[in-house]
Symmetry: C2
Subunit: 468 residues, 2 copies
């Protein structure tokens, strides 16, 4: 926390009288930090005359950076120096002489999109909470599937290619044995899956994670260029069957991590068809060749795959972490198997207890109001900052004994929510819980919230629900 931003002061005394953040000071700091970003992390970091890295031994760097986490905040100037040091001692992955990873370079337009995404800080699970991003995801996934050669299908963004490969194994297992979701592997025959010796280690890792075990991954031989030999695959499948295991999944790698080899997808698809196996193509690295009319032949046959992993963060300069998991099935298999959202990396450098302390006062105040006001009813006494309550509109008050009381009350929260969203005045969630019909769950974590916001919150519910 920065000194002098008013945050600490707001937390003492009456935390709800004023916003617990000084927005003007915060914006000033943010503006200065963005100057560091532009000058040091963008211009300097891509300047070929500057260093790719400023090497320090760990102990030396630790001392230089002074990373001790203290109780007290630091002045803005000190924090800005820290921002500069962060950039200075970080490796410049956008530098033209950074060839170290499967990603490199800095695209200014992509970065702009990523910065806005950070500032908007939302989650992707529903249209309600991320209308624009949900539509964008839909369009981008459809485009990627089109490039694979599918007219329909499904997909999701995952936090990395390793995760996409694991999703593939899990969906394939579920597709073959839908009851595995409930019963676990014990109800299944011992499974076997296949990938080349040059495949990414996430195939082994995924097998371990999914309770399949690395011994049940058969690493198929490759030719001298690093490509899987389809005849070897067929032999391994026969061998597994002879040993009493049940083959279910083949992973072809298109663009191996070290040599950049492409497995022959068409011939592998033939083998999979003969044996009724799920074909997954790990195109995390090489998938972007599909954008090139000249090079897409490297992935010929990929349209016959059941699933594809493709990392735009590797060759399309969109920034870490971005992996697409694509599915040919358009019948909702992914949804039936599991629903997992795309996710973010950790980014921070400090601690607050202020946010907590302010948040703590809000439910006390709000619970007090809810107890007092006509038509509001707590679901249970709050122990934490979850405040769960019903709003009972005038038409239902005093009618608790009526046979349709709870059924009608359960319709109140959704109706009020719809009205507040369309008006854009505020947002709060509701849900039923066990035998209890829909109620509101109010959460305050933002130190910026004031008593006026909480009063508005209750007034607005009353206004929106008066005629229900």
């Amino acid at each position: 926390m920065a000194e002098g931003t008013g945050t600490a002061a707001g937390a003492e005394g009456d935390a709800l009288a004023h916003p617990g953040v000084d927005a003007a000071a915060g914006e000033e700091f943010l503006r200065a930090a963005m100057e560091v970003l532009l000058e040091d992390a963008v211009r300097g970091a891509t300047d070929v005359t500057q260093k790719v890295c400023e090497w320090k031994e760990p102990a030396e760097l630790r001392a230089l950076l002074d990373l001790e986490l203290r109780e007290q905040g630091e002045p803005g100037g000190r924090l800005l120096r820290r921002c500069r040091d962060l950039v200075r001692y970080s490796v410049k992955t956008g530098h033209p002489r950074f060839f170290n990873q499967l990603f490199s370079g800095l695209d200014h337009h992509a970065l702009a999109g990523r910065l806005l995404t950070e500032a908007l800080n939302t989650s992707q699970y529903t249209y309600e909470i991320a209308p624009v991003f949900v539509l964008m995801e839909d369009v981008v996934l459809a485009k990627l599937r089109e490039l694979v050669g599918w007219s329909g299908g499904d997909g999701i963004f995952a936090p990395g290619g390793s995760m996409s490969n694991m999703y593939a194994m899990n969906v394939a297992r579920f597709h073959r044995f839908p009851h595995s979701r409930q019963s676990g592997n014990w109800a299944l025959p011992r499974l076997a899956l296949f990938a080349s010796r040059e495949s990414h280690y996430s195939v082994l890792k995924g097998a371990a994670f999914l309770g399949i075990g690395t011994d049940n991954v058969r690493l198929v031989g490759t030719d001298d260029r690093g490509k899987m030999i389809p005849e070897e695959l067929e032999k391994e499948i026969e061998r597994a069957k002879a040993e009493g295991a049940q083959p279910f999944f083949v992973c072809a790698t298109c663009g191996t991590t070290v040599l950049g080899a492409f497995d022959p997808v068409g011939a592998i698809a033939d083998v999979c068809e003969r044996h009724g196996l799920w074909l997954h193509v790990d195109a995390a690295w090489g998938g972007s060749a599909l954008l090139s009319p000249k090079h897409r032949h490297l992935l010929a046959g990929i349209e016959r795959a059941d699933s594809v992993a493709w990392n735009p963060h590797k060759m399309l300069t969109v920034g870490l972490q971005c992996s697409a998991f694509l599915l040919r099935d358009g019948s909702g298999l992914l949804q039936r198997c599991h629903g997992a959202g795309a996710t973010y990396l950790f980014q921070t450098d400090k601690f607050y207890d202020v946010a907590y302390d302010t948040g703590d006062k809000s439910p006390q105040y709000l619970a007090e109001q809810v107890r007092r006001r006509d038509g509001f009813q707590l679901v249970s006494e709050p122990e934490f900052i979850n405040l769960c309550f019903w709003f009972v509109p005038p038409s239902l008050r005093g009618r608790e004994g009526a046979p349709d009381y709870w059924q009608r009350l359960g319709k109140v929260a959704p109706a009020i929510k719809e009205r507040m969203m369309k008006k854009g005045s505020m947002m709060v969630s509701y849900q039923p819980h066990g035998a209890r019909v829909n109620f509101f769950r109010q959460i305050v974590t933002s130190p910026a919230v004031t008593r006026a916001d909480l009063d508005f919150f209750l007034d607005e519910i009353e206004r929106l629900g008066q005629d229900l």
Copy 2:
């Protein structure tokens, strides 16, 4: 891709003559986009007099945004309008009247850290590639463990609380049955795990993913406040044993998602001790109460847990997605079980084939040079943009027949790498592969790379390896 940035022009004709990005135009755009960020996504989005959301039906919004992905780029002005629309129609999760999720609010300092992290675009797997972030992660995890009450231990940042809960189950399974990693669940007795009826759905999801199955999750009864009843837990454990299952894992929830209830960790720890079970505390939501001297009693006993999940992105305003998975074990169990890195969310709005096309020319040019230059030797003919080669220093040239030739050659790449890092002149990776000793793997994905950079790359290797 923006029009007039020179990217397209660079890809035609001689792609390596000039950088394939117009840095000045890119920076200008980025600066303008950052103004949108500050004005609209920060100031406007936290202004209580403005709307929390601008509701549109999906079809209407889709038409408004014009999301069609086209072959051709758009002028900067149009892209900026798109940035403004993105913000305008997104939900303002930083708004003081957004109470919809377990996260809300906007902290300017945290956002500054996140923007810099995006700009630096690096991965967390080694000190080499992320020196500052690796040290920071270390310090922050140690602090979180200290707050839990542990003096040692281990941990990792995960893309979300769901993932942290899955890590916990996987580590617990591995700890009890180390061979499960190789052999899968078939070599184990049928497992059973326990969580309260109010626990987060990720416990069930994780059990399905790990091949344990949702039927083997026993949902333990709760009291009227939503807290797990320790006596019920003990009964469920006995029941599972009687039914031939093997209990191994108990998840206590500290801060349930709906009611905000805290399971009594101390009493649950007693039960776990009696039965020799792994105790995981899902403190994704309530963990931040540990920062408050007044409220940390809610988690009393958490120091007795074997592992803890804690989401700073929920109550500490650090931004999505940030979940800490903490482990009491400091013996390297996590490393032995699996090594998974923290990861990012997808963020982009467009496609490039230009990056690919430029990247395509570079290895052709570079492979040509490697073939020509004395002392450079291709490992294999490149099919893709992975260029794998050895540098043979003068002292080894013509000595291929010597018994220690390969052994000595294998030490060349690490020595050169160390020198380039310390000098900061460039970065490239090396690895052994099967029977082949260490070689360099060069990758170009950045359109900014020119022929001069590639010439420098080979010259620099020669310079650094001349005396080896």
